[in-house]
């Protein structure tokens, strides 16, 4: 059994080899707002690692004749994955990459054993191109080509047995597929779903792969891309990835609340750089509240919100604060001895990390760290700076009532947080702790490749803020 994790450094190295610098794979700050909450491992990166493991064991020098790959589950950085050889014959292999026993990647190949491969000198230098963003309305018109390339030195660090035992042209063709999908077709908003490639043994000086969109299935936002090089042909299947959710601007929201409606609130919003925290901050500021938002990693997003609200005449600033840091490292120092009267708590990790029907204790502990321990920490930190909190808002979830099969850990941790709120309402007699079970609201967290019913967060948060002002 072979288990490993992919680090961010591995990902950046692979991007330099393949030319696929899509931020979904290499930018942790942007990726935290995308579908998986963390940078996702390039599917072709994971595939080449699995083939590397197989070649290491078998010692063959091979020329692929057919390759079918399905990317079934996302692999994110630092997530343990397991390589398994399901089946092999003298001219085929079937490999899988598993996450907690579930199939994440399926790789089926046919091959010929050969004596050696001719070393190819690739002329082109891999350059970091701009990540294109093709609109859905234009996708059927898209075609183009990418240069085939392998940086042997870099590639040798990531998959040495592949470099030694697989045809250099075939390596370059596999690398080209991820560049086509992640950088060009459709580029930025892409999820690589599967590929089928047929290879033939033809020598050529033409080191390019051409691509052409063959079909777009609007029901699933699924693109079929036909690819062709001198020695390979096949199809790539790709989904459009939803962009991260941009909440309405301050100006869009500022007429929803009366001008001084929330002027009785000095509001501290934990996790205010995006999502529900962002909406809450803008609504509060528009109603005359003094607002402080905290961010953990999203300084760019927090600065953008502060600028948006300040330009519109609102009163807001931001501080860096980590609810999970040890006591001596948590710094809730706010300008001019400012203390909050109201606290809103939106700190959260990525919530769709569970696997259907399985309880993962580590994941449950992670949710509890954010939803229980972090919450208790900030309540205590508010006391330590002399704050007399009047009201505290805690967002629970309808998942407590009906836990989805892949959100058991999340639901249980939210239920635990509700218990903490009830306990605080008994022990903290000067502060009212309010929680309610929010439906699925439209934020980065609830974005999906497939159509889902998400509710507009603005009216929900406005109702809650008004309840906090009573």
């Amino acid at each position: 059994m072979t288990i490993r994790t992919f680090s961010l450094e591995n990902q950046i190295s692979f991007a330099e080899i393949s030319g696929d610098f899509n931020p979904l794979h290499v930018d942790p700050i942007i990726a935290r707002r995308l579908l998986y909450g963390d940078p996702a491992v390039h599917g072709i990166h994971a595939t080449l690692w699995a083939i590397d493991m197989w070649l290491k064991k078998n010692g063959y020098i091979v020329s692929l004749t057919l390759l079918k790959i399905e990317f079934l589950l996302p692999i994110v950085i630092n997530q343990p994955v397991q390589y398994v050889c399901v089946d092999e014959t003298k001219d085929s292999f079937y490999l899988r990459i598993l996450i907690s026993g579930k199939k994440a990647v399926s790789i089926k190949a046919s091959f010929l054993i050969v004596n050696s491969h001719e070393k190819i000198h690739f002329n082109s230098k891999m350059v970091k191109d701009e990540c294109k963003e093709v609109a859905v309305s234009d996708i059927l018109k898209v075609s183009g080509n990418v240069d085939l390339n392998v940086d042997y030195v870099l590639a040798n660090r990531l998959f040495p047995y592949v470099v030694n035992s697989l045809s250099p042209v075939q390596i370059s063709e596999l690398l080209a597929t991820t560049k086509i999908v992640g950088m060009q077709c459709p580029g930025l908003q892409s999820i690589f779903s599967s590929l089928v490639l047929k290879f033939k043994n033809v020598a050529s000086n033409c080191l390019q792969m051409n691509y052409d969109v063959e079909d777009f299935d609007e029901r699933f936002s699924r693109i079929t891309v036909k690819i062709l090089s001198t020695s390979a042909s096949g199809k790539l299947y790709v989904f459009y990835r939803p962009p991260y959710k941009q909440q309405p601007s301050y100006l869009d929201m500022h007429k929803l609340a009366a001008r001084s409606e929330f002027s009785n609130q000095r509001a501290l919003i934990i996790g205010g750089s995006r999502g529900l925290g962002e909406v809450t901050a803008k609504l509060l500021a528009s109603g005359g509240a003094e607002v402080v938002i905290t961010y953990f990693r999203g300084s760019r997003d927090a600065n953008s919100i502060v600028k948006d609200v300040t330009n519109g005449g609102g009163n807001i600033f931001s501080i860096n604060y980590d609810v999970m840091a040890p006591l001596e490292e948590r710094n809730l120092s706010i300008e001019s001895n400012w203390t909050p009267t109201h606290l809103y708590y939106f700190a959260t990790p990525f919530i769709f990390d569970g696997i259907r029907g399985e309880f993962n204790n580590e994941l449950f502990n992670k949710f509890c760290d954010y939803y229980v321990t972090g919450f208790v920490n900030i309540v205590n930190d508010c006391k330590s700076i002399g704050s007399n909190l009047k009201k505290v808002y805690y967002p629970s979830s309808v998942a407590v009532d009906s836990p989805p099969a892949d959100m058991i850990e999340y639901s249980a941790a939210k239920a635990a947080a509700e218990s903490i709120c009830r306990s605080f309402n008994i022990t903290e007699n000067k502060t009212e702790f309010i929680f309610d079970r929010l439906p699925r609201l439209d934020t980065d967290q609830t974005a999906s490749v497939f159509e889902v019913d998400n509710n507009d967060p603005v009216p929900h948060m406005l109702r809650i803020i008004r309840g906090m002002s009573d």
């Binding site: 199939k103 029901r219 699933f220 999906s448």
Partner: protein, 76 residues
């Protein structure tokens, strides 16, 4: 074409399980691997074999083997 056998073979292929046994009551609720991605794969595979194209309403309605059969019957 025996619809039951064709569907069984498609389900076995999509869920990568050569011994999978299905019945009309096989559904998203009792097959843990039947997530949104698997659903798309099932729909596309069924469309390919039967040479049909489901409407978006059909795609949303189908959540079991019985649902597939009902929708297939509308088109063939």
């Amino acid at each position: 074409m025996n619809v039951n056998i064709v569907l069984r073979n498609i389900f076995r292929e999509v869920f990568d399980d050569d011994e999978l046994v299905i019945s009309d009551s096989t559904s998203k609720d009792n097959v843990m691997e039947w997530d949104s991605v698997a659903h798309v794969k099932l729909v596309l595979a069924v469309e390919d074999v039967f040479n049909i194209r489901f409407s978006l309403d059909d795609v949303t309605f189908i959540n079991s083997v019985e649902g597939f059969k009902t929708s297939i019957n509308k088109y063939i």
